[in-house]
Each structure stands twice: as structure tokens, then as C-alpha cells.
């Protein structure tokens, strides 16, 4: 069992190293004269094409599925599927917490995983959340941020949506960071994947109003999605202090 595990780990480390190399080599850097308050989006025309593709995909497939799912599935069951899927993701989060040197986060998330897997009946219930033990988020894109890799250009990926070059590289690496994917045998693994897909579809239904307002009710949904993604991502990373960016005393409000 352990021999098999280490063999698999060794096999897995190759794509991780390849991924890191790709990131270090691949993140586009803005030129020295670039205004930091302007989004660095050199791939805008390709991004806009992908955005149109994503919007069509959402309109034809994801949105109807999400809205139907939320209507058909009782709220409690929907919560449980979401809990189950996010619980399975926790070991991967712990790996990233550790790679970032965030021992406290790793500890919290481990406690969460143990409590929810046992008291929460395999992760169906968020028992740890009831005790106030919330998840400390972690992904490999965040790890790269902690390691000092620059954000790179903004990208919108077909089928996956808004991202940055750094976050996109992180996503690739995160396909390999969850220890559970090496330990779980095949059929159980797919239950996790299915729950993951179901919870994503459910989120589309649950946040239908919010997502619709960005995708369908804004004048330029591409720039709106870009701005919202980048601000939220940087907030989660703790990158910059948004509260300091706007000075209310520096604006001419005469006549408004």
C-alpha cells in the first residue's frame, strides 16, 4: 500500500514540477510604464471570444441545468452535496496551506476534515462549521502568490471562466495536489467528481440572480466579470488594501 502510494506520488511530482516551470516561464509581465490601476489584459481579444463562448455555454446548458437542479433538489440535500464535495477537497487545501507555511490553516482544515468526515457523516453535514471552525481557503494559485510569483495577465478560459495566468497554472497543479485522489479507489473517486460537478451546477442555480446580473444585465459583461473576478481574487489572497485605493476627498462632486 505505501509502496504503491509513494510510486504514485513520484509519478505525480513530474507534472507538478512541469507546471511550476510553466508558471515561472509563462506569466506575462506588464511593461514598466503600465498603470497599476488599469487591468493588465494583453489577451483581451482572445479573452472576449472565450467570454462569448462561455456565455453561450451558460445560456444553453449551465444556467438551465443549475436553475432546474436548484428547483428539483430540496435545499437540505443540495447543502449536503455541496458539503460532501467541499469536504473531499479539504486534504488538497491542507497540502496548499502547508506549502504556504500556514500551519494554523492546515491544522484548522485538518480538524474540519476529521470532524465533518466523522460527526458530519462522511462530509454530508458541516458539523465543524457549527462549532465555528470555518475553512481556511487554499489553492495552488494562492501558493504561487505566497511564493512571490507575479499575477500575470488576466485570462478568461473556455469552459472555466475568469482567471489569471498564475491562478490558471495553479488550477493545473491542483489536479494533482489532493492526496485523496491517490488513496481513493476508482469508483469512490468518481462519486467525488460527480458531487463536485453537481455542487458547481447547484451554485449556478443558487446564485442565479447575482450571476445573471453580471452575464446578462450589464452593459459590458466581459469587463464586469473581469473586474469582479480580479477584485475578489485579490481580496481572498490578501493582495493589496482595497480600502485605501479611493480617496473621497480627492473628487469633484460639484453638481451631483
Amino acid at each position: 500500500m505505501f509502496q504503491q502510494l509513494s510510486y504514485r506520488t513520484r509519478r505525480a511530482s513530474l507534472p507538478i514540477l512541469a507546471g511550476i516551470a510553466l508558471v515561472l516561464a509563462g506569466c506575462t509581465q506588464p511593461g514598466p510604464g503600465h498603470d497599476p490601476s488599469v487591468v493588465f489584459d494583453p489577451h483581451e481579444s482572445v479573452n472576449r471570444q472565450n467570454h462569448e463562448f462561455n456565455r453561450a455555454l451558460d445560456e444553453k446548458l449551465l444556467r438551465p441545468a443549475g436553475v432546474g437542479y436548484t428547483k428539483a433538489i430540496p435545499d437540505d440535500l443540495e447543502d449536503s452535496i455541496g458539503n460532501f464535495s467541499s469536504n473531499l477537497g479539504l486534504p488538497g487545501t491542507v497540502v496548499n496551506n502547508l506549502l504556504q507555511g500556514n500551519v494554523e490553516g492546515a491544522f484548522r482544515n485538518s480538524v474540519r476534515f476529521v470532524v465533518n468526515t466523522t460527526l458530519g457523516l462522511g462530509g454530508l453535514f458541516d458539523a465543524a462549521g457549527e462549532f465555528g471552525i470555518e475553512e481556511i481557503e487554499g489553492d495552488f494559485g494562492q501558493t504561487l502568490y505566497v511564493w512571490g510569483v507575479p499575477e500575470g495577465a488576466y485570462v478568461e478560459l473556455p469552459g472555466l471562466g475568469p482567471s489569471t495566468e498564475r491562478a490558471a497554472a495553479g488550477k493545473v497543479v491542483d489536479l494533482f495536489t489532493n492526496p485523496l485522489s491517490y488513496v481513493l479507489p476508482s469508483p469512490e473517486k468518481y462519486v467525488g467528481t460527480a458531487a463536485g460537478v453537481a455542487s458547481k451546477v447547484g451554485e449556478r442555480g443558487r446564485y442565479a440572480d447575482a450571476i445573471d446580473s453580471i452575464l446578462y444585465n450589464s452593459a459590458d459583461s466581459y469587463s464586469q466579470a473581469r473586474g469582479i473576478y480580479l477584485q475578489n481574487r485579490r481580496f481572498k489572497l490578501g493582495d493589496g488594501d482595497a480600502a485605501e485605493e479611493i480617496n473621497p476627498f480627492e473628487l469633484d462632486t460639484q453638481g451631483f
Binding site: G227, I246, F249
Partner: protein, 201 residues
Amino acid sequence: MTNFTRRQATGFVAAAVAGFALAPSAAMALNEASAKKLVDALVDEINKTIASGKSEQGMYKDFERIFAKYSDTSYIAAYAMGNDGRRASGAQKKAFSREFQKYISRKYGSRFREFIGGRLEVNSVRPVKSWYEVKTTAFLRGESPFTVTFLVSDRTGRDKFFNMFIEGINLLLTERTEVGALIDRRGGNIDQMIADLKKAG
């Protein structure tokens, strides 16, 4: 020597006048407690509206009133219009301000439905340059708690919030992007943008 004393005297009088003039406003100045008080009152009114069980139209009216009472509306409107505000006429600015307030109430009022059964809790205040940041946590059914932040200033002479962040997403920036796109879509025509704004949200 005489000169020096006179200058000294003038300086003293000037300082005394300035001190006297500043004293009342200093007593009323924004501080952590008053910034928190503003957000507490705002959160209380929002929670009441959500719990009122009013119709959606009734709730939008309430939100419009709350928005006008607690926020620095002229600042928010001026920021949302951005550089285009410089070439807008007085009448356009007035019309924009009015329509923009209604638009905000519709847009964010409809989202507050998601807060039914939930609550906002004020948890910290900190000074940032000459304003205050008040952090609150939103607790919604079946969701991890998330952060809603208000920025409060006394720029207008009264304590008002001038910006709001939901999980780091800046209300002012989001609306500036929106208004900018509306103006671009109309080839720079401000009147048509205002007309579009009436239907948006």
C-alpha cells in the same frame, strides 16, 4: 523688535481664532465609535426592511430611502460617472444623480432578497487615512459567512458611507465600469446613458 512682537501677537490671535473655529467641528468629528454607530444603524434598517415582508416594490422604496439617508450619494454618483462627469452639464449631473440612486436601489434591493432569514453583524472598525473602514460579516442560510465592508467619511459634514465591498468587490468600481460601458455603447452620449439607466438594474 516691535515687529517681532506684533507678528507674534497676530500669530497668536490667528491660532486662537482657528482653534475656536475648529473646536466645535473637532468635537463632532468622525471617530471609530461614530463610524460604527452609522453602520449599526444602517444594518439595523436593512435587517428591518428584509424582515418586513413587504412587496419587492415596497422594499426598493425603502432601500432608496436608506441609501439616501446613510450614503454619500453625490460622491457615489460623481465617482460612478468618472471622467465623463467633467463634461456633463449641471442638469445632466442632477438627472444622473437622481436616476442613479433609483438604479442602485433596484439593483441591490433585488439582491437583498437573498438576505431573507440572514443577518449582518458589525465586527471591527479601523481608521484608513482620513476615513474609517467598518467590517461586517453576513450570515446567510447554508453558506459560509462572508465579509461586507463599509467605508465611512464625514466629507459632507455628516457621517456617511461612501463605498461598500462584498468579499472585496468594490461597489464604486463596479458601477463606474457599468456607467462607462453604458456611455461607450451610446457613443459618448450622456443623455442617452441616463435614459438607459432608467431601464437598467
